[in-house]
């Protein structure tokens, strides 16, 4: 078995490149999904029924599709509609759309439980529209659902492993490549698991630090 790990160690560069790609992919996807989640959450809370129904359809739709299938659709099915994306872009898009829907639902939940008086104070001081959302509504709901958003980021990291099937050179893809070349499945996959674990722990630690700061404001 040590021999297996020695082989993986010899190819650690490849594994680290995959790890780096997973980090970049996850960070980009989290930032973009969080950004996209805001307009979707605003639509979910809209007073206009068609707007609300459209957003609700998107969110519920995403929650019912297995991520693997969505990745297939974006990469293999969209070219039929003349939308052709390279595997990186397709993978990133799939991650962003899928998780933006989840995050929008998280934001909507926190928004709905925001005390009415909090928003009313904003209105009474002359905030309205987007400014009301950005300055008065968004900050407390992000603080309130920090742990859940952190969880969602971990979900993004793990979902990114599926992108191996559309040949995005992320961590799982590289581990898989090493194991199939040298037939060292145990060492290759366990090494990947350890690296995923390190990454998820880092996310948990940073979320915990932000959460401690958020608690001072409650």
């Amino acid at each position: 078995m040590m021999h297996e790990f020695a082989i993986v160690w010899a190819h650690k560069d490849r594994l680290l490149v995959g790890f780096g790609n997973t980090v970049v992919l996850s960070l980009l996807a989290t930032a973009a999904a969080l950004t996209l989640a805001s307009p979707i959450a605003i639509a979910l809370m809209s007073h206009r029924r068609p707007v609300r129904a459209l957003a609700r359809g998107l969110v519920d739709g995403m929650r019912c599709i297995p991520f693997l299938l969505l990745a297939y659709i974006v990469y293999y099915a969209l070219p039929t509609l003349a939308i052709r994306l390279d595997n990186w872009t397709a993978g990133l898009c799939a991650l962003v759309i899928y998780n933006a829907a989840y995050m929008a639902e998280i934001l909507r939940g926190a928004w709905a439980s925001l005390p009415r008086e909090h928003v009313e104070a904003g209105l009474a001081f002359g905030f309205s529209g987007l400014k009301l959302y950005r300055r008065i509504i968004l900050p407390p709901i992000v603080l309130a659902c920090m742990p859940v958003l952190g969880n969602q980021m971990i979900q993004i990291i793990k979902d990114s492993a599926f992108l191996t099937i559309i040949a995005v050179p992320e961590l799982t893809h590289e581990a898989s490549a090493i194991q199939s070349t040298y037939y060292v499945p145990f060492a290759a996959f366990i090494s990947a698991v350890l690296l995923y674990w390190v990454l998820c722990r880092l996310v948990e630690i940073s979320v915990g630090a932000v959460e401690r700061r958020a608690r001072a404001r409650r």
Binding site: G122, G126, R218
Partner: protein
């Protein structure tokens, strides 16, 4: 001769100069089948403090919330320095949210439950709206906010979050937050009734000081002491236009707690 109903007559700008800061003209408000406000009128001159007394459920808070259009009155007009609230001049079309926001920025509001923004520090609460709504320069706003914190004696709480303050401190910060907007009129909605008895004094002291400084205020309160020096102005909303004799109003005041529904405006000084 065309009949022009007085209620829809647009106000001319020339009239604005001699007008009261706040004018409430015959407003009605119904929640479902329940009449909350029936033909209530009130006018507040510059520098005046008007107290509104009455038992819970008599529509005092609703009246204040109508002033900044957090509630829409069913009928009647409200004017802020001569400008009609809720409707555009001449065309009489309803104001957009952005137009309402501009009006609301000129009306300071102090809530029963403070409603400070928990994600902002004390200073952050004071400077938020002046910077992002009124778009005034940050340096100027911060300097003014710090002076206000000195005034309410909470300078040392500048960088603390509201969760760490006592009820009385929160309400003083809420008053300073409203003052930071340089409002034309300041509305107090039961500002002391959510406080522990021993904390009421510090908030009333700030309100007394503001009244003496000539701030224009409308105060919904249960604090008889604060309204003590007032001259009785208006009586129960059922017969709002029948201005009661002082003696009758006093009697009313004595048994106001048992009255089914009543509004009583008192005018200080």
């Amino acid at each position: 001769m065309p009949v022009e109903p007085a209620v829809t007559r647009p106000r001319l700008p020339a009239e604005a100069a001699e007008r009261p800061v706040l004018e409430i003209d015959g407003i009605w408000k119904k929640f479902g089948e329940h009449d909350v406000l029936t033909d209530v009128s009130l006018s507040v001159q510059r520098g005046q403090t008007v107290c509104i007394l009455g038992p819970s459920g008599s529509g005092k808070s609703t009246l204040l919330r109508c002033v900044n259009w957090l509630e829409r009155p069913d009928h009647g007009h409200i004017y802020l320095s001569g400008q009609r609230i809720g409707f555009r001049p001449v065309t009489d079309l309803p104001m957009s949210q952005a137009e309402l926001a501009q009006i609301r920025a000129r009306v300071g509001m102090v809530f029963q439950h403070f409603n400070l923004w928990p994600h902002l520090t004390v200073l952050g609460n004071l400077i938020e709206a002046p910077i992002y709504v009124q778009r005034r320069p940050r340096d100027e706003v911060v300097a003014e906010a710090e002076a206000l914190l000195d005034k309410i004696d909470l300078r040392e709480k500048r960088d603390v979050y509201p969760a760490r303050l006592s009820g009385g401190q929160k309400q003083r910060v809420a008053i300073a937050r409203a003052l930071a907007m340089r409002p034309s009129v300041l509305l107090f909605d039961e500002a002391t009734s959510a406080l522990d008895p021993e904390l009421v004094g510090e908030v009333l002291a700030v309100m007394e000081e503001l009244a003496q400084d000539g701030m224009t205020m409308v105060v919904v309160t249960h604090e008889m002491g604060f309204a003590r020096d007032a001259v009785i102005e208006v009586a129960p909303p059922d017969k709002f236009f029948e201005t009661p004799k002082t003696e009758r109003a006093r009697q009313f005041l004595q048994r106001y707690a048992s009255a089914p529904r009543a509004g009583l405006a008192r005018r200080r000084g």
